[in-house]
């Protein structure tokens, strides 16, 4: 999280707060700076304030406190139609009484662009999303994926520098969604547009974004590139929310630089990286990704702590094996291994020892 004004930021939220009823804050002290050309995703559970932030940026909601800057200029008092921000809505919001071409032509008409130039731009935008032949159709005659493309083309046709997308892929089936994720990122990068993308789907956030802002409780919990977010979550909310995760509770026994030893509630000890803990005796939640758990002792360092585990279930998933184990009183401990030629298939009931590299296990806030 940044707290100072960033020179050269294209979009910037400065200490923004938002309340609808004057009693509770939906957005609490939001600070965010985005450089030009970035693809930033706001990710969070529903009610976390991410859509409100998007609506404030678009101008449909006003910030209760704080400044929103666009290209260095405050935009709090600029009405939405003068902000020049392209927007893609959750249900596409294609005007049902206009054809596809008329829909695309609309933002150009209100900008008083001449007919011939308008037609050329509309055609170019349609071609860009591979919908060149659909100009005369009505939105209702198109499939969900096609409507999605048109909505995208319409948000881009007037060449805005900033495009906002509010869960644009939510209504599509999985395969189409994955395809469109790719298309949207490709277009955004090719055209060099700055994009703010709101979603509650973490796969979408991880695969598409340059940076992801994880929202919860009206605050950005972590703002980082996808790999950092996944591998180095800064608090237990992010660790839980992004990807699959094993959590164990315990007390910090000792801290030694960038490693620490945590005593779990059943008395066993493990190695971890101290993130949100500062002194011995603090309660903590340690978090370890299922694919970073190791049960081949040869791959662990000799002095590493290990835990006793009982295999409860083996799930064959094709590319990976998934084991459910009982570890330190937790029956839902998950371990994943790649289905490699030398992979071991543990059988239910088998007792093994598991461990991990200290850097993969993070001691977070309790």
């Amino acid at each position: 999280m940044t707290d100072t004004t960033n020179e050269g930021a294209f979009v910037e939220f400065q200490r923004v707060q938002k309340s609808y009823d004057g009693e509770t804050l939906v957005v609490k002290d939001l600070n965010l700076a985005m450089p030009k050309g970035e693809f930033l995703t706001m990710l969070g559970p529903s009610g976390s304030g991410k859509t409100t932030c998007l609506m404030m940026l678009a101008g449909f909601e006003t910030a209760t406190h704080g400044e929103i800057l666009l290209g260095g200029k405050p935009i709090n008092n600029i009405p939405p139609h003068k902000r020049g921000i392209g927007m893609v809505f959750q249900n596409y919001a294609l005007f049902p009484h206009m054809t596809v071409a008329e829909n695309l032509s609309f933002p150009l008409e209100v900008r008083k662009i001449g007919r011939s130039e308008r037609e050329a731009k509309v055609q170019r935008a349609l071609d860009m999303v591979q919908m060149g032949a659909f100009g005369n159709r009505r939105p209702a005659q198109l499939s969900g994926g096609q409507q999605q493309r048109i909505a995208l083309a319409r948000a881009l046709v007037f060449e805005p520098e900033l495009v906002l997308m509010d869960e644009p892929l939510g209504a599509l089936d999985k395969q189409l969604r994955e395809h469109m994720q790719f298309e949207i990122t490709r277009l955004a990068h090719d055209l060099g547009i700055t994009t703010v993308y709101v979603t509650h789907d973490q796969t979408e956030a991880l695969t598409m974004s340059d940076r992801v802002a994880v929202f919860d409780d009206g605050r950005i919990q972590q703002l980082a590139p996808p790999d950092q977010l996944y591998e180095e979550p800064e608090n237990s909310f992010v660790a839980q929310f992004i990807g699959e995760n094993n959590t164990m509770e315990g007390v910090v026994k000792s801290i030694d630089g960038d490693t620490c030893i945590v005593t779990l509630d059943d008395g066993s000890e493990i190695d971890a990286v101290p993130i949100n803990v500062h002194q011995p005796g603090e309660r903590t939640k340690v978090s370890i990704r299922p694919e970073r758990v190791e049960f081949n002792k040869d791959r662990l360092s000799p002095d590493a702590h290990t835990l006793k585990a009982v295999v409860r279930e083996f799930i064959y998933m094709g590319d990976v094996f998934r084991f459910r184990m009982s570890v330190a009183g937790n029956d839902e401990f998950i371990v994943k291994t790649r289905n490699a030629p030398d992979a071991v298939r543990l059988q239910p009931g088998q007792e093994i020892e598991i461990g991990w590299l200290a850097k993969d296990c993070r001691a977070l806030d309790a």
Partner: protein, 424 residues
Amino acid sequence: MTDASQTAGPMLAADGTPLKQSLARSLRRQKLRALFLIAPLLIFVLVSFIVPIGSMLFRSVENSIVRDTLPLTVDALQSWDEKSGELPDENVYEAFVRDMIVAIENKEHTRLGSRLNYEETGMSSLFRRSGRQIKKLDPETDGPFKEKLIDIHDGWGDVKTWQVIKTHSVPITNGYFLNAVDMRRTPDGPRMQPEDKRILVKLFGRTLFMSLVITGACILLAYPVSYLLATQPTRVSNMLMILVLLPFWTSLLVRTSAWKVMLQQQGVINDTLVWLGLVADDARLIIINNQIGTIIAMTHILLPFMILPMYSVMQTIPPSYTRAAKSMGATNWTTFWRIYFPQSIPGIGAGSILVFILAIGYYITPEIVGGTKGVFISNRIAYHISSSLNWGLAAALGTILLAVVLILYWVYDKIVGIDNVKLG
């Protein structure tokens, strides 16, 4: 099972009967059940609505009374040329006396008199007054009757009398419909009514015109209210909706009478205007017992019928459309006119049809606040039903009204498309 499905010809079910037949049989029970469920309503509607309406519509052309009451006369008149300008022969008079004696016995001659009086004033008293004396005549011995009848009442010596009887002796007549459009049957075919009796076409025109004005006024008043209802949060819009529906819970008569109090020359509105000094005391506005009064009161009364369909259509327009338009750079006005308004048209259409059709047949309100200049065709129908007892004409007027509504509906369907009408 045989390989029936592979042979040519109709598809067969497992037991060899044609598939269609066995499907129909299996569905028959369901259909009977459905019929059984709607039977009470069906019978009720049939008995209390369709049959009376049908018989009422039939009255607009039914005219057997002349032939039934004067069968011999009607036959005898066949050979008389009504355009000759001469009185009929003695045999017509004789037949007429025979018919009348029977009719007087059955007390039917006055009814016939009233019926023919719709066509020619004076016929009613002619029949009533001659009755007693014709009764004394003996058809076998007292002839010839021509002179005697003319002695009894000189009406029988008038060619016109016999023309009216002959012209209206047909069992199915277009006479009532001609009357309904200010025309009448004459021996020379349909002719316009005399100038001073032409009121119905004007009344039809006024009814249509005022209904249009009322519909227009309702659109203008209802649109902003519906928009507010559709865009406010539920708590506020529920409150507003109660205010809109409040008039529905008050008797129509009470509301209309309230308008009478409001609109009179010594009423609330005029008093307020005079008190404010906007209107001089000796120049109080005349806003009741004329068209203005009817338009004001009916607009108020029909307003909810415009608001409700508009509201239910506007409610389905997602706010994301207007947001999308604004994000693309459209001003508030452009957004409204190019995006919101076109999508609200089905609501306007539905409300307009509803209000117009209700207005065109409205009766109570024009009766109370309309005076003589602000009444509708329905008031005329009511007059013929309950005062003049000319049910045939009332039925013809009603039929025309029904036809006008159906034609307008058809035109609307052609232009706007009835599929675009949404009631929610």
